[in-house]
Amino acid sequence: MASDRNASDDFTGPLKRLLLVVLVLALSGIFLLWRIDSPRVERFRAQVVDSIVPRMDWAMAPVTASVRLFRDFQSYQRLSEQNAELRRELRQMTAWKEAALQLEQENARLRDLNNVQLDPRLTYITAVVLADSGSPFRQSVLINVGSRDGIVDGWATMDGIGLVGRISGVGDNTSRVILLTDATSRIPAEIQPSGQRALIAGDNTSAPPIDFLENPDLVRPGDRIVTTGDGEVFPPDLLIGQVAQDPGGRLRVRLAADYERLEFLRVLRDHGARQVGSPSALILPETIPDSGEAPSPAPSDATEPPGDG
């Protein structure tokens, strides 16, 4: 038995080592390929997700529903408290409703006067949230529509009220939405009424900070934040949220979308959106803008210091 054992060890030992080397090379190869040619590997990832997650859906839907039911049940315990709060809010809302009706009538009259057509390109596809990212480091959700339904990378998604995120990774039947709270999310935005431009840069917290703000003095907590059409990333004027100030004095966004209860999302069809096909397209535009005028300021800058001296 002992010789038998040694023989089989002699036989399997090198084979195991070979298998280990092959597996390590394959896995590190995938990682390096991902680092070099991200869009291709991300498409592969979308296909893998597309083939696995919809198959879990039959079990996920009831489990999710029962956990929600249980959470709702917990909130029934505070029923009377909530009831009083709702009554208070309802009184405020009646006043707002009156104001809104008057404004709506006025708006309709003015539109009629101006003969305004609403943008017909902004139609939407409604999707159900299938799964979340499954990791505390990434903030994204999977939705049940994909390239079969005409979804394209880069489109904006909203819940009923505010912007939720951006499509990134489309499979046949599923696609991934990178939420505004994800650490890689950067959305160009405009703060109204001051018209300041800024970037909403997600940092894995529930209230993403406002970056690259030109003049923070013009911005007050409570100002509305909407998207801009800058860089052809998103259609303009989608509501993102309100400005809020954290205890450290940093300006952040209180998101308008209700992230606590994301069940249905609207994916806005946006045929003007810029699409990223190859890795270099992320960095370089196809044609360099103003290439004829660029050299002219440089010589004038160079000649200025001697003139001053």
Partner: protein, 179 residues
Amino acid sequence: MAENSPARLWTMRATYLGLALMIFFVHLLPMQIMPQRLAGPDVLTALTFAWALRRPDYVPMISIAAVMLTADLLFHRPPGLWAVLVLLATEWLKPRGRQVRENTFAAEWLTAAMALLFITLIYRLVLALLIVTPGMLSLWLMQYGMTVVAYPLVAGISYLALGVRRSTPGEYDHTGRPL
């Protein structure tokens, strides 16, 4: 000897894959869409380490690589990196299992925690070198701590519910090789 029959071996190999699928399922449930302040334990890695230390034959290299690569792809992590690190760590742990089994549970726990710390550090280092945002350090530390704390739990449940116990020195598998 009946306990180490081929049927039992293949059942346990399949059980590992089934458990991994269950863990994917629980992680993917759309329950936590708000960013979390707390990071939960990485149960999948703890399970893999526990099984690799206790019964290396239940977790062959191929299943570890397949499960971890799928996890990378599903959980939106850089694909392949965590998989290759876990694979190397388990291959390092498997021969250690034979030494550790004669010692107390604390030694096993310490070995697993050290391996995890080592691959976590390499993971963050590689991501930093290749300029990929690795995520908040505090969350990583919390996840590391939670995984180490969860390890005895995972090992205990595998022992009580599935009978994954440390093999004793005199034990042979069905082909007659010592475990």
